[in-house]
Every structure is written in C-alpha cells, then in structure tokens.
Amino acid sequence: MPGLEDLYREIILDHYRTPRNRGELESPPAIRADGHNPLCGDEITVYLALDGTGDDAVVSDIKIGGQGCSISQSSASMMTQAMLGKPVGEVRALARRFKTMMGIEVDDEQQSDADIALGDLEALQGVVKFPVRIKCAVLSWNTLLQALDTP
C-alpha cells in the first residue's frame, strides 16, 4: 500500500499551512469561477485578472477563495504561483500537463506538453496512488479552466 508520505510531502503541507494568493479580486474586471467537489462538498473560487486578449493575454493576478482539504488547497496554492505572469496559451498547456500527470485524459493534449516543467507541482504526483483524492487535486485546475472559458 502506498504510504502517507507519498501523499503528504513537506512542500504540500507547507502550501496547506501557508496558502499563497488567497483572497478575492473585484469581479468584474477580474473573471470569477466557482468549482465544487460533489463528493465532499468542497468549494473553491478562482479569481483571474488578465492583461490583454486572446491566447496572448497574461495572468496579471490570481486569487483563490473557498475551503478544501490539504490536497485541494495546496494544489490551488501551487497553481497560482505557477500561473502568475504566464500567457493564457501556457496556462492551458500547464493545465493539460498537470491533468495528464494526474492520470486524466485530456482531449487537446499536444506533443510539446511533455516538455513542460511542473516544478513544485511534481510533489502532487503521489496523489495518483490515492485515486479518490485525484478530484481534490484537480478541482482548482478545472475551476481555472472554467474561468478561462468564461466569455
């Protein structure tokens, strides 16, 4: 059986205890998207501020609201750090890469995705060994993608 140390890596606990980029952005102008996990009732809100338009728009600010477990909270926290300053095209690519790492099939997967470095987010790889927790890890990512698709 996979051990708890595979799941609760130090960096995950650090982001859980001290989440980065928590808070709210005024919406509008920021885009707001709400996500929830129907299994456990966790709720998360992503506030996304973009500079520019289309795939070249850059994430100028991102904040996370809501409640969740250590996995969903740390995943959201690391996600915000990775996304700040990135153009939307790269945001989508990183999300695809992350979801693929979580063992989720993404339809628009591209060959170049494999080269994307995940950095600290690699720490969440252990979640794959605990299938019920995968939903926790991807909750903020799906909510972010929802924000990007908000017209």
């Binding site: 708890l4 456990c40 966790d42 969740g68 477990c69 250590s70 996995i71 909270q73 605990f130 927790r133």
Partner: protein
C-alpha cells in the same frame, strides 16, 4: 455462540463477521462506518449462498417445486421484517431497492395522487438527501411548498414552532435518527402532531431500525422507509412499511410484471399490495439474506443491541472529549438517551478528507464528507465532517484506535 443466553458476550459477536478478521498490512480492520453500510454476518452470507445453491428459482410464476420454495423464502423474509418492526400484517411490507427508492415511491405515488400546487410538505433540517430531493422534485413539478423544522443548538428538533409549520400541511416526513448527528427524534409525538394537523406521517427509519426496538404501531406512523444493508442484510433491497389502508389507496409506482392483476390492449389493473409496488423480478437472493439478518438481530435482541451501543457511544464521546478537549467539536446531543452511535466531528482545522486518509493508514474506516445532508452541513456551518459510527460488532478498542489515529493526524499535520 452465546446468543441464547441473556447476557451477551459481545467480544464474540465480531467473530460472526468474516470481514472483521481481515488484516491489511498486518493490522486489523476497525470498521466505524456502519451508519453508511453495515458488515454482514456469516449467517447472511451462508443463507444467500445456500439459497442460490439449493432453491433459487423465480417466485410467484411457476408451478415446479423449487419455485415454490423460492416463493416461500421470499415471503418468509417479508414476515420476518414485519415481526421486527411489529407491523400488524406482513403484506404491509413492500420490498424496494433501498430506502431511497421507498421514499421516492412515497413522493411519486402518494405525493402525485394527493399533492397539488400550494400544498405544504414539512421536513426537518437534518434530513438525508433521500428525504429531501424526492420532495424537491415534486416541488419543481407541482409547485408544492416545503417547510423545515429547525434545530436546537445541540442538534435536536426545535418543536416550539411546530403547530405553525404543520398548519395546513399535508405531509410531515422526518428522520427517526439523524445519520449525521445521531439524534433520535420524538417519533410518536411527531406522528401524533402530524395527524392532529391532518398530515400524513412519513418516517425515514433508515438509521433507526438497525439499532433500536422498532414498533411502527406504537409510533402511529403512516409510512416508514428503511434499508437492509444498514442492518446486516445485503445491499440491493429496502423496505417501505405502510398502513394497509394507505398503501391500498396509493397508485402504483413502477409498472411491469408482477404488479398487475390483468393487462389488455386498453390498460391494466393492479395486483393487491404489496405486489402492486413490486414491479418486475424482485431482489430474491437479497430478500433471503435480509430474512437471515433479521433473525440474527432478533436472536441477539434489539434492546440488547441498543444497550450495547449506548454504552459504547458514551465511551466514545467521553474518550474523544477527554483526549482532545477543544481540538474536537462533536455535533449532536451529548446525552446517549437521545442519540445513537453516529458521531460526527470536526478535528482541529483539519479537513475530514485528511483525517479519514490518516485513519485509513491504520485501517480505521470512517466517512468524510457531507453525508448526503448538505442542508444540514449549512446549518452546522461546515462543508463536511468526519463521521464514526458504531454497531453491535464494535467495542471500546475500536474507539481507542480512532483516538490513536487522530493523534497520528496531529503528528503529520504538525500542530
């Protein structure tokens, strides 16, 4: 085994449940999720397997001998259930898929026949989704009004406003025991007040029947729903008991074989209750297992089971409070006279998913989540809780394992 003796050797009860001797990674299984679904004694497993080996056949349709045996086995399960809840007649027990289907049957059959726009259905804030969503569905379809009995701070029903809530109501549908708070509700009183207001009294007894002496006649209830899988029986079969007069007047729910008297090109007529509500091939093997579960529980005695769980629940509440003080918040009443062995709690500011994950590492099985009671979570001001629930096979050592596991969570998350 010691079942015939008046004093029960609880230590040997767990031996009747094969799964409880399973070890994972060298540690024994500590099963504290019986409020979710209960484990199965050997007697139930054997009864189902013997039935499939020896007498399995269709019921009510064929004249050969094993079909007769199968029909007898199915009907004797019905009789066993009727005996367990002191129903006046076995034919008042309708087999369904589970308690959820039983409650949907009530809303769809009784509700559609009797409720119209503006009619009032009263529920409580501590209902399981199974006793909420069927009424929401009817509200969307018919425009009925839902009213809610609120809770006291310690998680009991606040009855001060009951007369107003029931004023003009057609249905009062409520749980006999909360699957989150453990709260036992005053069922007889609520049935009486419902009737005084001219309302139908529907009881969700899913958490109650497996753990208490049930007497539907003493309750004065009209319709009562519960599930086999929470009372040591198999999954896949549930029950709706109802007073014959009420069941008789209700239109059928699902249509098909077994529920008809005759069918023509122009229409159909229904079979008498209970067949009227048992369309299609019923859960035969499951009924046989359920019958064996009822006999198993009867041999031990429901009063003895309730007593055992009261003592265990007291031990659990005291142990958790003493060991964790302000770090734990236990929801629901503290008095075990008015609560069953379902213990929901928040632990430090840890998320229930994390708590249950750490407990699982020690083979302690608890449930984390909203327990299919999202409106109640809102009242409690949380998204989710961790829930430990006990049954006849649990003892103090299981509670100690839970508490030790919580210490482990403290270590991992470092406080």
């Amino acid at each position: 085994m010691m079942l015939e003796s008046a004093t029960i050797d609880w230590a040997t009860i767990a031996d009747e449940f094969p799964i409880l001797s399973r070890e994972i990674d060298g540690a024994r299984l500590v099963y504290l999720d019986s409020g979710n679904t209960a484990q199965k004694p050997r007697r139930v497993i054997d009864a189902m397997s013997d039935f499939m080996r020896k007498s399995y056949a269709p019921i009510n349709r064929s004249s050969y001998r094993i079909a007769g045996e199968a029909t007898d086995a199915y009907e004797s399960a019905r009789a066993a259930v009727a005996r367990l809840i002191n129903a006046p007649a076995a034919d008042e027990v309708v087999f369904t898929k589970n308690a959820t289907e039983a409650l949907n049957l009530v809303a769809q059959s009784w509700g559609r026949a009797n409720l119209d726009s503006g009619d009032v259905v009263v529920l409580t804030e501590m209902e399981h989704h199974a006793n909420i969503v069927p009424w929401h569905m009817l509200a969307a379809e018919r425009g009925i009004e839902l009213r809610w009995i609120r809770l006291t701070p310690d998680g009991q029903l606040d009855l001060t406003d009951l007369d107003n809530l029931l004023d003009g109501a057609k249905v009062l549908s409520f749980t006999a025991m909360s699957n989150v708070l453990g709260t036992l509700t005053p069922v007889s009183l609520l049935c009486e007040r419902a009737h005084a207001a001219g309302a139908l009294a529907v009881v969700d007894a899913c958490q109650y029947v497996p753990h208490n002496v049930t007497d539907v006649q003493a309750w004065g209830a009209d319709l009562v729903a519960f599930s086999s899988h929470k009372m040591c029986g198999p999954s896949g079969i549930g029950m709706l008991w109802g007073r014959m007069e009420i069941l008789d007047a209700m239109p059928p729910f699902l249509g098909g074989g077994n529920m008809i008297d005759t069918v023509t090109f122009d229409g159909f007529t229904t079979a008498p209750v209970p067949a009227k509500f048992e369309a299609g091939t019923p859960p035969l093997v499951e009924a046989v297992g359920l019958g064996a579960a009822v006999e198993f529980l009867e041999d031990i005695g429901m009063a003895a089971i309730r007593q055992h769980e009261m003592v265990l629940t007291r031990y659990a509440l005291d142990t958790l409070n003493e060991r964790f003080g302000d770090d734990i918040t236990i929801y629901g009443p503290d008095n075990v006279e008015v609560r069953g062995g379902v213990i929901s709690f928040s632990f430090r500011d840890l998320h229930p998913h994390d708590v249950s994950q750490v407990l699982d590492e020690r083979n302690v099985c608890v449930r984390a989540g909203h327990h299919c009671a999202k409106p109640l979570m809102k009242v409690l001001g949380v998204n989710a809780t961790t829930r430990a629930s006990v049954y006849l096979y649990n003892d103090n050592s299981d509670i100690d394992a839970l508490a030790d596991g919580l210490d482990g969570a403290t270590d991992i998350f470092g406080f």
